[in-house]
Amino acid sequence: MADLRIASIARGKKISFSVNGKFYDAYEGEFLHAALLAAGYRMLRKTAKKNQPRGIFCGMGVCNDCLVTINGVSNQRACMTLVEDQMEIQLDE
């Protein structure tokens, strides 16, 4: 995927986070759902009942679609979490 980061915006410190064991760059101040999107992850999980793919929907903590596992803690809203250096993310594949 082409770089989705807006060029004119000055970013925070460059950091590194992992998704299912693969490492990606991100910048301090970015929200996790945005950092995941920039890393090319649109699907964040599959639903328990019907195994349907889900990603970012409301982007403001309301819909609970973007639930991911952060540092071993499941069901965290990616859109309400700031990405941190060495954060480990687990997504459904």
């Binding site: 980061r5 970013r11 929907f57």
Partner: protein, 479 residues
Amino acid sequence: MNKPYRIVIVGSGLAGMAAADLLSRYGLHVLVADDNAHTGGQLLRKALYTEKGQGRFKTDWVKRHGFKLAERLKQSSIQILNGTQVLGIYPEHSILLETPDGRTSEHRADAIILATGAREKQIPFKGWSLPGVMATGAAQILMKSSGILPGRKTLIGGNSPLMLVLAAEILANRGHVQAVLDQSTIAGKLKSVAAQPSVIPKIIEAVAFFARLVAARVPYKQGLSIVEARGSNQLEEVVVARLDNTGSIIQGTGQIFPTDTLAVGYGFVPNIELSQQAGCAVSYDVDKGGWYVEVSNTMTTSVNNIYAVGEVNGIAGGGKSLVDGQIAAWDLLCKQGIVDLKTCKKQIQPLIRQRNRQLRYGRFLNRFCQLPPHSFASIPDGVTVCRCEEITMGDIRKQLSNGLATMNSIKRATRCGMGNCQARTCGPILSEIISALAEKPPTAIGCTSARAPVKAVSIDSLARMNSDNSDVGNTGNLV
């Protein structure tokens, strides 16, 4: 023992900040709890565009004022808890909070100001839960809070006033907008809305946004509905068409847009759940965005010492939120004997006049986004309505044909609205669906009840409940 008077404000958007600012200037102890990582609510969404060279976003006087407030709050003695969910409000104004350290704790408040804001309204279509389909607000937030474009190319649909704003912001930040597809028509909108002087600036604004679309050669089409979002694990293409009153595609109007991102929105609804749970009376009014919290002229709710300010008592934009917060604060200051009744009245009266003007703008805004009942009645059976519990339109139709026709009965029979989001996404949709199919007004169908915890919380977090009700997590003393 003389305990200090404690005020808890839920929400640090414009309304919450305006109230907190005024109360703290008179020396009152204020605690602000907000689910978000940053202070300022959805309108400010972090200061990416307050510093030079930080992206290109529209700012108006409301936002500029908001940023000033946020800065002043940061310098003040007000305790702001970011990343904190308010799970419930119990009798005697005991408040249950979950702090970002993953602990819950109970706190006493003498007065509570609910400033819980609004969320976007949606209408389900086939594939609307596919990754890549997102709310117009979500697309804006990605850019404003994180400086990341929503996609390589973005198709924008729905009937929200945010559509044009989003398109302009994507273009200004060198992104690609594929097309803007307005479900309604300008002629239809003008017919349904009695134009008023208060909306003229907004119309001028819309024209300016429109001019940017034209300059960037972005197609703008009217009367087109989103029929289906397709893709295997993420969005690949979107089917759009003109629909008749039964939801059938009018022959020859169908079009397919290959795209990775679809941003959709259909206006806004107040976030009433916490107020409802606290026992505040709610009511329904199309002009206010649907179900809203009833307030008096001084922003008091039906529950003693609980105020509701901003979008939660009726959608009308940030200007009204700033005014509401101040009115509630003046009323509280008067009741506490800090300012006399005469001063209080003198302060509140002009604010009420401003508020009435803003409510008229809100009426325009909400009617602008109102979809006709057949849009809801014609949702196909296979379409998911409740995204959390994966309940389809067919599931709901079946229960309606069994004779059920209230929000709570359909909810119990289908589990629609009983998932993680607690009906925040599907609740307003279900209300419109039942209303359209049963041909009854929303007030006859009722509103789903809200119980604590009103936000998803882990058992682990509840188990680690902090029994000392004067401390908040590890952030120090409340007073």
